[in-house]
Symmetry: C2
Subunit: 197 residues, 2 copies
């Protein structure tokens, strides 16, 4: 019930739940599953979280809050804008490549289309990065559509990495996962060409 950050059991539950919610989804995952992965029994979860929904929401906050920080930060430097964009894409790309949980939960929110979750994602996770990105885009090219470009960039970053398990079955798709450095570099090039390189 406390949900306090300093409680180590709550933290362990959140970390475990994040993994499980990400890979199995809300409905396919039972409280007993989560509890057993934490080496406790299901009713004990209710000492830390009001109900399943509250645990899910807390999990989303837990995963997303720490993530959005690194991105805004690199857009606040005083590098030249083109370089700033490159750095942003590199950092965001690495996050997408490494953080399966983040990517998966992001997609799940997009799929479920729950209004509360969408608002949370937009306001608490994406808003700052979006604003900073908009500024960088218009700085590079005042005639561009920063909103379109931001969505495009998000789509490219998320999709390329999410599609990796699919890609290997596509024609001309090599058996191995495409190197994230290669993808990141090409996405950087793509955005710059789009901005009138």
């Amino acid at each position: 019930m406390t949900e306090s950050k300093e409680n180590s059991t709550s933290q362990r539950i959140l970390k475990t739940a994040a993994e499980l919610f990400a890979s199995k989804g809300y409905d396919a995952l039972s409280m007993r599953d989560i509890a057993s992965a934490c080496d406790i029994k299901a009713p004990s979860l209710y000492n830390h979280f009001k109900d399943k929904q509250a645990l899910y929401q807390a999990t989303l906050k837990f995963v997303f809050k720490q993530q959005s920080q690194a991105l805004v930060c690199c857009l606040e430097s005083d590098l030249p804008p083109k370089q700033k964009l490159n750095e942003f894409i590199e950092i965001a790309g690495k996050q997408m490549a490494d953080n399966f949980i983040f990517r998966q939960l992001f997609f799940r929110i997009l799929l479920a289309q729950d209004e509360e979750d969408l608002k949370f994602l937009a306001n608490q996770v994406l808003a700052d990065s979006c604003n900073a990105l908009h500024a960088v885009f218009v700085e590079i090219n005042p005639d561009c559509d920063p909103h379109f470009l931001t969505t495009s960039l998000m789509g490219l970053l998320l999709f390329h990495f999410q599609a990796n398990p699919l890609r290997i079955y596509l024609p001309a798709g090599s058996e191995q996962t495409q190197a994230s450095e290669y993808l990141i570099e090409h996405i950087q090039l793509m955005l710059h060409k789009q901005l009138g390189d």
Copy 2:
């Protein structure tokens, strides 16, 4: 059990199930939900499909088979390649904009990462379009990476439309859904710039 295409009840079940699976997902949807939406009782579903999993697979085939046809078709014309690409993007874009079910089920397969479903999507749905697209890309610019471009295009088309409910909560996101014509035009421009316009 028959799953034959000419059976009208089976067809009605598939159409209904497609809507429901798309919007609620596999686990959140019960056989009783599906049945009730078809104005029958749950056990009657088993006269047409072996079990829930089989109904789901049949639904995927039902939704995707008809979709992949239109796309390959427009890539087989003998228009100049740049025009062919434009037409492909326009048709695919309209499908993404209109066909909520297709988009949603596509994303769900990507999320669930079930190997069987990924293979089905790759081989039965995407393979032909991918090959044709590759050809068009190298025809326009022999030095490009057609595989990267194909994935990028898929990502842009899917994501822009899937992100529309999110977009309206983002900073500078207008209250209304972005016009699909506008999105399609910008994606066309983007691809052409990428190919060295």
